[in-house]
């Protein structure tokens, strides 16, 4: 921890970063996002199993009003969002000072202790507990017990459903949605200045939280994440209604990989799946 504080303190003192988006612990021991602006602030920075937030979500907000680099503390999975934003031309690598942290898994429920049953599923599939690139690296990665992947079971079940059964499953889930848009607001990949649900001439998506409005919102959100979701699980964690949102985005990520061999946010130079085409792409959907 001291190492993280020291790295950030130095970065702020030496003006390697204008400010650092990181985590702090509040007086109730909740770990939450925090911006360190001075070397003294850096004393408050921390990292733990409870540092769940994907801080890359703040990059789109802060990128315009700064002279100098934005410092950001990232886990390996969060770095995928940073990479994806660079790939999508939302931010430049040179405008960032990346403080990678070696990670030992994060909790699902922030109110509970870290253990096997309170570990995010993404951690089970985490390719690298050390971020693949960074400007500075802190923390030590420790072994941890892998959680069960209940979601894979559910996905297999849904795959076996008929179209009607699937519709019924999702209708029942989307019925709960209250259109708070927390799923959109926490998502680092949802950076549109004007979201399609806010466009009213014409109105593409009903703004009412009716069955129709909820269905179209949740499906359009999922569509816009096809081949773009980097799997941080933040949307599902934020949803106050407990809708299993990552079932959709994870499935689409799996399809993007099986059909096109593409994983978003894993290469700074590879063109994005959505932003390019290749003559060898399948076109079997055009009939």
């Amino acid at each position: 921890m001291n190492e993280l504080k020291q790295i950030c303190k130095d970065a702020l003192t030496e003006k390697k970063a204008r400010f650092i988006i990181g985590y702090k612990e509040d007086k109730n021991k909740r770990v939450k996002p925090f911006i360190a602006k001075t070397p003294e602030d850096a004393e408050k920075l921390t990292f733990s199993h409870h540092a769940v937030n994907n801080l890359a979500v703040y990059l789109s907000r802060f990128k315009n009003n700064i002279d100098g680099k934005i410092g950001i503390v990232v886990k390996s999975c969060d770095l995928k969002a940073v990479t994806a934003l660079i790939q999508e031309n939302q931010i430049k690598r040179d405008d960032l000072f990346i403080i990678g942290v070696n990670c030992s898994g994060v909790v699902l429920d922030v109110a509970k202790e870290f253990n096997k049953d309170n570990t995010q599923i993404k951690c089970k599939y985490c390719q690298a507990k050390t971020p693949p690139y960074y400007d500075a690296l802190a923390e030590e990665s420790k072994e941890f017990e892998m959680p069960d992947d209940d979601q894979a079971e559910l996905m297999a079940k849904i795959d076996k459903m008929t179209a009607e059964e699937r519709l019924e499953f999702w209708n029942a889930e989307f019925e709960k949605c209250i259109k708070c848009y927390a799923c959109r607001q926490v998502c680092p990949m949802c950076y549109c200045e004007k979201c399609i649900v806010e466009k009213s001439e014409p109105q593409w998506i009903d703004s009412s939280s009716t069955s129709r409005g909820n269905f179209s919102w949740n499906i359009i959100r999922a569509f816009h994440q096809a081949g773009r979701c980097i799997g941080c699980h933040e949307c599902e964690r934020a949803c106050p209604m407990g809708i299993p949102l990552t079932l959709l985005t994870r499935k689409m990520g799996m399809v993007a990989f099986s059909e096109f061999g593409y994983r978003h946010g894993t290469s700074l130079t590879e063109p994005t799946l959505i932003g390019t085409y290749s003559t060898s792409d399948k076109e079997d959907f055009i009939k």
């Binding site: 996002p33 109110a111 209250i178 259109k179 708070c180 848009y181 806010e198 939280s209 009716t210």
Partner: protein, 344 residues
């Protein structure tokens, strides 16, 4: 009036009768959620549980509701009123921080315009509150004039006794009529069932008058630059809150010549909330929007309606994706010097 008690079993029998009489019963379930229950067995009253994730306001102020329907017929437009829902609503197991919200938001729905949709639901309702045996770091009902035993907003109030009994207090004429109607299920309190004592303390954190005074004088304080800095601008906090009541009115087409005008939940944390048709937005960043949230709750609503627009339930903080804790923010305001009225 004589002192009454009721057993959990008899309470369920009442619920059973209510359901048979086409009454809508809103109660807490085993998953600790408010839900329109379909059978008495679904009801689980647990005074020791954390407040539900969402409040029950949607049964009085739905997330979306039609104001009228329209149909275009050549050059004519026909308007239709929605069929009013006159069913009786009984809410069972409301915590003091849930029940207290109804009289608070009733004031805004009866200010310059009387909101018939809200009022008719409230008039047709009966709120059965229950004292609360829970408290965590997010709870602060005590700080805004409430308490775990507060009966504000309840028509009937239950206090847990030993052996699955509740002590019953009737608070309003509605509550009295209810007890009379179902009197066969109530028993005289012979003092045999001892009250269950509350185990947790509810500490005092701030003085809301002091917070109000600070808010009166510090609209431009630099405190606001950081208070809401990490807020993501979702509406989780407003939508789960029992006292947030903002709504939007929109026209929605359904087919080519028909549609409806609807009243939908809205929230001051959305960037579109204050955007003018000209494109100007007086609250053009999240910090200003967060200031609005706090000021509306602890200043504007007090100025206008003499009520804190908050019951201290802590829901907004428990669910906030960035753990922005309203209590800690207000506590910090409470600790600031009263006259730091300057842009520093």
């Amino acid at each position: 009036m004589e002192e009454l008690i009721i057993s959990n079993d008899n309470l369920k029998k009442i619920v059973h009768e209510l359901l048979n009489n086409d009454c809508r019963v809103i109660g807490t379930t085993a998953e600790n959620k408010f839900k329109e229950i379909e059978s008495a067995d679904e009801l689980v009253l647990n005074p020791g549980s954390v407040p539900t994730g969402s409040s029950f306001k949607e049964y009085f102020f739905p997330k979306t509701e039609p104001l009228f329907f329209y149909k275009q017929n050549h050059s004519n437009v026909d308007l239709f009123d929605p069929i009013p829902d006159k069913s009786k609503i009984v809410v069972l197991g409301a915590k003091p921080c849930d029940a207290a919200a109804l009289p608070i938001i009733s004031k805004v729905f009866n200010w310059d315009y009387k909101d018939d949709l809200f009022n008719s639901r409230l008039d047709n309702s009966l709120i059965i509150g229950m004292s609360c045996h829970y408290s965590d770091e997010f709870c602060f009902c005590n700080d805004i004039g409430g308490s775990p035993e507060n009966m504000k907003g309840s028509d009937v109030f239950l206090k847990p006794l030993a052996d699955n009994y509740f002590k019953v207090t009737s608070i309003t004429p509605k509550g009295e009529a209810f007890i009379k109607e179902y009197q066969k299920y109530f028993e005289k309190d012979l003092g045999k069932n001892k009250p269950i004592e509350r185990k947790v303390e509810n500490p005092k954190h701030f003085d809301y008058d002091k917070v109000k005074t600070w808010l009166d004088n510090n609209f431009e304080n630099k405190f606001w630059d950081t208070a809401g800095e990490m807020c993501l601008g979702c509406a989780q906090c407003a939508f789960v809150c029992p006292t947030c009541h903002c709504f939007d009115i929109i026209d929605e087409q359904n087919g080519s010549c028909a549609g409806r005008r609807a009243k939908n939940w809205d929230a001051c944390q959305f960037s579109l909330f204050t955007k003018h048709a000209s494109g100007h937005n007086p609250r053009d960043n999240q910090e200003k929007r967060y200031r609005q949230r706090i000021s509306h709750k602890f200043k504007y609503y007090m100025d206008k309606f003499d009520e804190v627009l908050c019951t201290g339930c802590g829901r907004c903080s428990r669910g906030c994706p960035v753990s922005l804790d309203i209590l800690q923010v207000v506590e910090e305001i409470n600790s600031l010097p009263e006259n730091s009225n300057s842009i520093q």
